[in-house]
C-alpha cells in the first residue's frame, strides 16, 4: 500500500511525459487524480494503523530485496511520525497541484515534475532503508532544481543552482555519515529498524561524534538552520508560489524528519552528548530568523525567514527530546511531539501563506510590501485567509501553531530552561512582524494601482479553506493528531 502511494505519482509523471499532446486542463486533472489516489492509499494505511502499547513501532511494512550483498532492500513502513508527515505532504501536494499556475507555460512538464517530486517526497518519509532514504533525498533536489529554474521569476536560474549545490553538499555529508554508520554493523545493512535496535556507535566517542556531525550538517542545510540557511531566501523568492509552498511545507521537513529518524534514534548516546550545542544552533535560528524576517520588505522573503524561525522551534524540541538517555521522559516526549506537530502545522500554515503570496504575484507581479495597502476592502476573502494563516503562524491559541509551540516550550523548559526562555522572544518578534505585515497589506489606504485587485477565485478559495480548516481543526481538536504522533514519540524517547 505504501509502495503504491509512492508509485502512483511516479506513474502519473511518466504518463504525462509520454503524452505530450495533452491540454493544460487535462494534464492538471490527471495530476490531481494521481495525487488523490496516492493520498487515498495513505488514508487506508492510516485507517489500519494501530496505536497502543502493544502495537509494533513500524506498521504496513513491506520488503523486497534489491542489493543483498550490501544489505540494501526496498523497505517501506510507517510509524506515527512518518505517517503524520506523509499525510500532511499528501494534502499539500494536492493543494499545490490544484492551485493555478503562475505562468501557464509548458504545463505538462510542470505537472510531471510536481508528481515526480510528490513521489520522492512521500518515498523519503515512507522508506525504512537508509540507502533509499538517501536516494529520495537527492532526487528531491533534482525535482526542485528544475521546478524553480524553469518556472521561477527572473534570476531563478541562479537561485536554483545555489539551492542545488548547497543542499547537495549537505546530502553528501549525510552520505558519508550513512556509510560510516553502516560500516559499524556487521554484516553491512541499511535497514533502519536493525540500526535503531543495534545503536552501533554506542560507546565510540570520536567516531560517533564525527558521524553525528555529518548527519547534523547535512540535515541542518536542508532544515535550514542558522548559519547554513542562506540558500533559502533566494530559492523561495524566485520560485513560483506552489513550488515555494512545497519547498517550505515538505522539503524542509525532510531535514527535521531525518534528524529524528537517524541521529536521534540511531545514535542516541552521541546525540545526547551534543544536544546542548544543537539546541544553541536552534536558538540562533529562532532569533535570527525572526529578527531578519522583521526587516524584510519583500513579502515572500519575510515568510521565508519565518520558516527559519519555525524550524528553529522544531529543532529545539528535537534537541530537548534527545538530551538525555533516561529521565524526564514525559517532558522529552512532549517536546518531541511538539516538534512533529510543528512540522505538520508549519507545512499547512506556511504552505497556505506561500500560496497566498503566489496569488499576490499572479495579480500584481510584485512582492514589495510597500506596493500594497487597504486590500481588505477589495479582496475580503483573501484578507480572511491571510489573517487566519498569519495568526496561526504567530502561534495564536486555537490554531495549529499554538498547539505545537506550547508543547515544544513546555518540554524544552524541563531540559534547557535558559534556552527555552530566550527562545520565547522569537514568538514575540514573529507576532510583531505578522501583525505589521497584515496592517500594511490589508489595512490603510488602497494604492490606485490596486483598485481592481481581484479577490480569491473559487478554486483558490476552496484550496485555502481546506488547508486552513485543517489548521483550525488541529488548533481546537488536536487529540487525533497528538495520539497518532505521540504513539511514535513515546517509543522514540523511551528508546525502543
Amino acid at each position: 500500500m505504501l509502495t503504491l502511494a509512492i508509485l502512483i505519482p511516479m506513474l502519473g509523471a511518466l504518463a504525462l511525459v509520454l503524452s505530450p499532446g495533452l491540454g493544460h486542463e487535462k494534464a492538471r486533472w490527471l495530476s490531481i487524480g494521481a495525487s488523490v489516489l496516492s493520498f487515498a492509499c495513505l488514508i487506508i494505511v492510516w485507517a489500519l494503523f494501530r496505536i497502543g502499547e502493544e502495537a509494533p513501532a513500524f506498521q504496513s511494512v513491506a520488503e523486497v530485496p534489491w542489493i543483498p550483498s550490501l544489505g540494501v532492500a526496498w523497505r517501506v513502513g510507517v510509524d506515527g511520525m512518518s505517517l503524520a508527515l506523509s499525510l500532511m505532504s499528501g494534502v499539500l501536494f494536492i493543494a499545490c497541484i490544484a492551485w493555478p499556475m503562475e505562468h501557464p507555460d509548458r504545463p505538462i512538464a510542470y505537472y510531471a515534475w510536481f508528481l515526480f517530486l510528490e513521489s520522492v517526497s512521500l518515498g523519503l518519509f515512507l522508506v525504512l532503508d537508509l540507502l533509499l532514504f538517501y536516494v529520495f533525498f537527492d532526487l528531491s533536489l533534482v525535482g526542485m532544481f528544475f521546478l524553480i529554474g524553469r518556472w521561477g521569476h527572473d534570476g531563478a536560474e541562479r537561485a536554483a543552482l545555489k539551492f542545488f549545490i548547497y543542499t547537495l553538499a549537505g546530502s553528501l555529508a549525510i552520505l558519508l555519515a550513512i556509510i560510516g554508520l553502516v560500516l559499524s554493523v556487521d554484516p553491512i545493512t541499511f535497514d533502519m529498524r536493525t540500526l535503531i535496535a543495534a545503536q552501533p556507535l554506542a560507546g565510540m566517542d570520536l567516531r560517533g561524534g564525527l558521524i553525528l556531525l555529518g548527519f547534523m550538517v547535512g540535515f541542518a542545510v536542508k532544515t535550514p538552520l542558522f548559519p547554513v540557511h542562506t540558500w533559502l531566501p533566494p530559492a523561495h523568492v524566485m520560485a513560483p508560489g506552489p513550488v515555494s509552498a512545497i519547498l517550505a511545507g515538505v522539503l524542509l521537513k525532510m531535514g527535521t524528519y531525518g534528524m529524528v529518524r537517524i541521529p536521534l534514534q540511531m545514535l542516541r548516546e552521541s546525540f545526547a552528548a551534543y544536544a546542548f550545542p544543537i539546541a544553541l544552533f536552534a536558538l540562533a535560528s529562532i532569533l535570527w530568523g525572526a529578527v531578519v524576517a522583521l526587516g524584510q520588505t519583500n513579502l515572500k522573503r519575510r515568510i521565508a525567514y519565518t520558516s527559519v524561525n519555525h524550524m528553529g522551534y522544531t529543532v529545539l524540541g528535537i534537541a530537548a527530546a534527545g538530551a538525555m538517555l533516561a529521565g524526564a521522559e514525559n517532558a522529552r516526549s512532549l517536546a518531541l511531539t511538539g516538534a512533529v506537530v510543528e512540522m505538520v502545522a508549519h507545512g499547512l500554515i506556511t504552505g497556505a501563506l506561500f500560496l497566498i503570496a503566489g496569488g499576490f504575484w499572479a495579480r500584481s507581479q510584485t512582492y514589495d510590501l510597500d506596493a500594497f495597502g487597504g486590500l481588505a476592502g477589495v479582496a475580503p476573502k483573501l484578507t480572511v485567509a491571510a489573517v487566519i494563516a498569519a495568526f496561526a503562524s504567530l502561534g495564536l491559541p486555537g490554531l495549529a501553531g499554538f498547539v505545537a509551540e506550547v508543547q515544544i516550550f513546555v518540554g524544552a523548559f524541563a531540559v534547557f530552561p535558559v534556552i527555552a526562555a530566550i527562545g520565547l522572544l522569537g514568538i514575540l518578534i514573529t507576532a510583531a512582524l505578522f501583525l505589521r505585515l497584515l496592517q500594511q497589506v490589508f489595512f490603510g489606504d488602497l494604492p490606485t494601482a490596486r483598485k481592481g485587485f481581484p479577490d480569491l477565485s473559487r478554486r483558490e478559495g476552496a484550496i485555502l479553506s481546506v488547508l486552513l480548516f485543517l489548521v483550525v481543526l488541529i488548533g481546537i481538536y488536536p487529540r487525533w493528531l497528538l495520539d497518532l504522533i505521540g504513539s511514535a514519540t513515546r517509543a522514540i524517547v523511551g528508546g525502543s
Binding site: 542489493i67 536516494v135 536560474e157 543552482l161 549545490i165 547537495l168 553528501l172 558519508l176 556509510i179 564525527l210
Partner: protein
Amino acid sequence: MPIGDLSPEIAIIVAAVLALLFAAFAPRRWQAGAALIALAGILVAATLLVLQIGETRFTFSGTWAIDGASIWARLMILFATAFCILLSPGWFRTDPRHGEYYTILLLSALGAMAMAGAGDMLQLVIAVLLSSVTGYTLAAWHRDWALSVEAGMKYFLMGALANALLVTGVALVLGLLGDSGYTALSATFAAGVAPSPLLFVGFALTLVGVAFKLGAVPAQAWLPDVAEGAPVPSAGFLTVVPKIGAAIAMARLVQLVPPDALGLRPLLAVMAALTMTVGNLAALWQDDVRRMIGWSSVAQAGYLLMAVTVLGLSPDALMAVLAFVASYAIGNLAAFAVVAHLRGRTAIADYAGLARRQPIAAAALVLAFLSLVGIPPTVGFLGKLTLFLTTMQGGYLWLALLAAANTAASLFYYARIMGTMYFGTPPDTVEVLDRLSGVAMWAAAIAVLGGAVVAQFAFTAFRFSTLLPM
C-alpha cells in the same frame, strides 16, 4: 604455448586486419562496411571472453593474467569500443578513407586489453605503447582541422614523455629487484624488501606512466584537448577505453606492493586528491561542453584512484574499482553519444533551450551528467557509493571528505549546462547526426538508468573477482 588463452585478443587482431583489407579494396560508399567487420570481431572476442569467466591463472609464462578483474575489464573495453563504433559511420560519412578508422580503433582497444591483462612490467610497457600510438592517430584523425591536429600533437608530446618515464621506472624496478614478472615481484615483496628511495622512485615513475593513460595528475593535460579537438567518437573512446585498461594495470601494480612496504598508498592518495581537485577546478568555468567533459573526466580519474589507494586495505577495493570504472564508462559514453548525435556542438551557448527542440537528447545528457555527479538512481550513484564505502573502510576518511566536497563543486558545471538546456531560449532548428547515433544515445541513457536494476548481479560478479598476483 596455450594459444587458446589469447583467443579474444586474436579475434580482435583478425578483425582489425580484415577491416583494413576491406577498407583498402572497397569503394568509398562502402567504407562503413568495415564497421560491421569490427563489430563482428568484437562479438566473437566477447563470446570467447565470456567463456573465460571464472578462471584465475597466469598464462604465457606469467606475462598474461586471466582473472576476474582482467576479464570484466576486457569485456567493458569491448562494449565501450562497440559503442564508439556505433557513433562513427555517421560522423565520418564524408571521410573517404574512414574504413581504416575501425582498424586503428580495434588495435587501440587491443592495447587497453593488454594493459588490463599485463602480468609483467615489460608486457605493460608494450601495452601502454600500443594503446598510445594508436591513440595519437585517433585524436588527430581530422588532419585538416587545426584543433584535431593540436589534440593529437599534445597527446603525443605528453605521451612521449610519460612513456619515457614509464620505461625508466620499469628499468629501475627490474634492476633493483631482478625481475619484471608480477609473480616473482610479489614473492620478493612477501619475503621482505629493504625500503630504498630508488625503488620508490622506480614504482612512482611506473605509476606516472600509467597515470598518463588514466588522465591523472601529473599527466592529465592532454585530456581536455583530446575531448575538445578529437573527432567525437575518438574523444569518447580515448576518455574511456584506455582508462579501463589503465585502472586495472594500476591496481595490479599497486597490489604488488604491500601497504606498509614502500609508502605508495600515501603517494596515490595525494595523486587522487590532486587529480580530482585540479579536474574540477578547471572544469568550473569552461564554456566549451566537450572541454568541460574532458576536465570532468580528469576529476573522475581522481575518484577512481581513491579505490586504487585502498587496495589491500579494504576487502571491497577491487569491487569498487570495477564498479566505478563501469559506471564512469557508461556515464561518459552517454555524454559523448549526445554530443555526437548533436553533430558535435560544443559551445555552451549552443545548448540553450535544447530541451524544447531535442527533448530526448537533452534528457539523455542530463542523465549522463547526473550519473557523473553520482546522483541516484543512476549507475554513477552505485559506483560512487561503493567508492566512498571502500575508501572509508580503508581508513582514508580525509580522501572521502575531499571527494564529497569535489562532488558538490562538480555539480556546478554540470548543472550550468543542464540549466542552459532547460531554462534558455531555444534555437530555430537543431541538426542531428543519424539514426544510429540516436540509437546509441538511447541505449546509453537506458544503461544509465537500468544499471541500478542489475546492480546485484554486477556487485556479486565484481565482489568475487580476483586480481592476480595473489
